[in-house]
């Protein structure tokens, strides 16, 4: 499917779905990050926790994506990238991302987006400059990919809260998982 079609698909699904205020999401997410900071204190630990929380969300989110977008097969990693950027981002966050900086093997790319609804009203104090505030997105992407048999590594590389001009997440394909039969067949 072409980029334009995917973009239109994302728009249609977003318009036809139930929506809530982005500010409610931003405030709720902010309170969650604050709670994690209170519980764990170290920004690195919080980054890990956010990634784990995102992973738990991602493994369920993928079914929602497939059901609503009716994209039942993903033919390649390259195609999946466009689906994440144009369809999934639009469906959930109402913003569209761009896939940039592909490597020669086509196994790595960066997801670039200027606008992140999660970071509305937020700024990062110096003490937490190691925190990737919206790291939950990395976990979500990782979890979703795992459910479609691709093992990826997802890391934030640029964040507007840290002073960069845009937001960027680097996604690296590690391996394609094969369907494995369950360990105990009893």
């Amino acid at each position: 499917m072409s980029k334009v079609n995917l973009q239109r698909l994302g728009e249609t699904v977003f318009q036809s779905s139930d929506r809530v205020s982005a500010e409610l999401l931003a405030l709720t997410y902010g309170s969650t990050v604050k709670q994690l900071l209170v519980d764990y204190e170290e920004p690195d630990e919080v980054n890990k926790q956010l990634d784990q929380m995102g992973y738990n969300i991602g493994i369920r989110l993928i079914e929602d994506v497939i059901a609503n977008s009716k994209i039942y097969t993903i033919s390649s990693f390259v195609d999946s990238a466009e689906i994440v950027a144009k369809v999934a981002f639009k469906m959930y966050l109402g913003v569209v991302a761009n896939t940039v900086d592909w490597n020669s093997d086509k196994t790595e790319f960066s997801l670039q987006f200027d606008d992140n609804p999660l970071t509305e009203f937020t700024e990062l104090p110096d003490r937490y400059s190691d925190l990737w505030y919206a790291n939950i997105l990395c976990g979500i992407i990782r979890g979703a990919y795992e459910m479609v048999q691709m093992k990826v590594e997802c890391k934030y590389t640029k964040c507007v809260l840290r002073g960069d001009d845009t937001n960027e997440i680097r996604i690296v394909l590690r391996e394609m998982l094969l369907e494995r039969p369950p360990l105990d067949d009893e």
């Binding site: 929506r19 809530v20 409610l24 999401l25 989110l61």
Partner: protein
């Protein structure tokens, strides 16, 4: 208007803090409901792992909601262009009932009522709170209601407005509908609020300013990430 942010405002990032604070507030975007529902479910899961009882879980959700509430108050007050601060209990309650709920959830609750037995208690009834849409509570959690999060939001709004109160979410014993039951938010105002209610006149305003000042101070301490108390 002073704004609570998760930063201390000092240090080399202060130029960035000015850009966040000076952004206009007109931007009313939307995100998908599933995104919110998924995030909320994860919040509940996370909180569940860190507590040992259902009351602990409710308290945790309440705490998370409180932070949302105090920030929501400022936003809604600016947007509603409220000319004067609410000084009476009924004023602030109808503010919560109307614009705040609309801002957060896009609808209004069913009812706002006074508890006849106690003069400091009120309750708000809501059918199908937004956050409970995809939540099912297993038997062993008893009367746990995840709308404890919303109760926290209400508590946050009330405290920031100078009306400290305890807010809990309960499942009502509803004879008309058996499932899901109506959610009741019981609001119990603290003694100083009720004492203030009884006092008429200009002194009320001074008392409000004083208590708001105290609370803003304590909130500044509480929300300032320097002091994790």
């Amino acid at each position: 208007m002073d704004r609570r942010r998760k930063s201390d405002g000092l240090g080399p990032k202060s130029t960035q803090s000015f850009s966040v604070l000076s952004q206009p507030l007109g931007n009313r975007r939307e995100v998908s409901f599933s995104a919110y529902a998924l995030l909320f479910s994860e919040i509940v899961q996370y909180s569940r792992k860190r507590v040992r009882s259902t009351t602990g879980l409710e308290e945790k959700l309440n705490d998370i909601g409180r932070r949302v509430g105090s920030r929501a108050l400022e936003l809604v007050a600016i947007r509603e262009k409220v000319p004067t601060r609410s000084t009476k209990v009924l004023q602030i309650l109808s503010f919560v009932f109307n614009p705040v709920w609309k801002f957060l959830f896009g609808k209004q609750p069913e009812n706002l009522r006074k508890v006849s037995e106690s003069e400091s208690s009120y309750f708000i009834e809501e059918r199908d709170p937004l956050v409970n849409t995809f939540v099912s509570v297993p038997e062993d959690y008893g009367s746990m209601n995840c709308a404890a999060f919303v109760a926290g939001i209400i508590a946050g709004v009330l405290e920031s407005a100078g009306f400290p109160a305890k807010v809990h979410a309960y499942n009502a014993n509803d004879s008309e509908r058996t499932y899901p039951p109506m959610t009741l938010y019981t609001i119990e105002f603290s003694d100083e609020v009720m004492a203030r209610e009884k006092r008429p006149g200009k002194r009320t305003m001074l008392n409000i300013l004083f208590s708001v000042g105290v609370f803003m101070g304590t909130f500044a301490l509480a929300t300032n990430t320097d002091t994790l108390k």
